[in-house]
Subunit: 230 residues, 2 copies
């Protein structure tokens, strides 16, 4: 392998595997906690345990990321945290627009997990004329046709869709046209967006469907009561 005695690949270059990217926020979360507790080093074992991942997986991920560990010791919590924050872009604040101010949308405005990680909802959009102009969570609800102005005004790169399925695709198009490059979609619908736009889908009903499959399978397979406790 190439020998770079003291150099590590920095932020801009890595095309990290998507599966790895999906785990980085878990590690980040764990590291923040450990750091707060004053712990200075973690092993892949400990990190993996807390994140729900095998130690080998942790090492693979972190090595792909180019993050230095110390053999016989583990990883330096503060260093690793800094590096991870850079890679994930969590050193800056991300301004987010939320579209759809229904039940879920309103709950999201109050979710503290976002702010703790540097995400701030700075604009609200809804299609319902009754809602437009009202204030929710300290923000004025605006109309969707103002999206280009909103995105430019606030410097927004990320949009959250909490609209009904029927409206999702159209709203996605508007968001993309307005300049948003990443979308978090809560609607149970596929979004047709250009390739360079990143979409993550969170489909609660699907999740329950998947669980139902397993619960049923389990119920069918269980002859009597035959589980054990760990």
């Amino acid at each position: 392998m190439p020998e770079h005695p003291d150099y590590r690949p920095s932020v801009g270059d890595a095309p990290l595997p998507e599966a790895t990217v999906a785990r980085l926020p878990l590690y980040w979360q764990v590291l923040v906690e450990r750091d707060d507790e004053g712990v200075t080093t973690v092993s892949s074992q400990q990190l993996g345990r807390a994140a729900g991942v095998t130690p080998a997986q942790v090492r693979k991920d972190l090595s792909q990321l180019g993050s230095p560990g110390i053999r016989g010791v583990g990883y330096q919590v503060d260093q690793l945290l800094t590096h991870l924050s850079q890679v994930l872009g969590l050193t800056r604040e991300w301004r987010v627009v939320l579209v759809g101010i229904g039940n879920l949308g309103r709950a999201l405005t109050r979710y503290e997990g976002f702010a703790e990680r540097g995400f701030e909802i700075v604009a609200l959009v809804d299609a319902d004329p009754e809602r437009i102009g009202t204030r929710v969570a300290g923000l004025e609800v605006e109309s969707a046709d103002r999206l280009p102005a909103i995105v430019a005004r606030e410097g927004i790169a990320i949009g959250i869709l909490a609209v009904p399925a029927a409206a999702a695709d159209e709203v996605a198009r508007q968001l993309v046209d307005a300049g948003v490059t990443a979308l978090l979609n809560f609607a149970p619908a596929a979004l047709r967006v250009p390739d360079h736009i990143h979409v993550r889908r969170v489909d609660l009903a699907s999740e329950l469907g998947i669980l139902a499959y397993h619960a049923q399978r389990r119920a069918g397979a269980t002859p009597l009561l035959d589980q054990q406790g760990r």
Copy 2:
């Protein structure tokens, strides 16, 4: 390959790949819509388009499931929907307990997507003494130590965790002890549960972290008017 002129493997046997299982609810959803519109057949092309999946993928999934398509025509909507419902266990109602009646928890009680697919939240649990005994969404909030009684009383197999990360693992243990076999976890924490318990994790902050990674990467790749910086 084996010739089974008219026989297709039915509900009880298939150990479907997890990736396939995760897509079945998407297909199910699309089929319900098409069925409502009175459409009688769909091609893998159409189904895939609506679900955000390639046609080849759809065919692979449905063939693994043992579901019959007609060459030159496509799939019979009603047949396929029936079969899928059976496989996913969506022919029955699933009774669900929700633990954690904060912002997110309350929003979930009002989420119509669950009921539409046969999931009903039939019990609410919270640790906060202030909340216990109050009524939310027509249900009385109960204490966690009543979980065994609740699960038995209501015939519950699925639990939803909308509690703070620090409490998640302990609550999961209580749910499992009470007899729940599948969990939907909204807390940003790993749950230590026995192997036979199925957990799906929905981590909103992680999702945003993943998007931030891509948004940043994209911004770095964009040569012209760069972002604002910090």
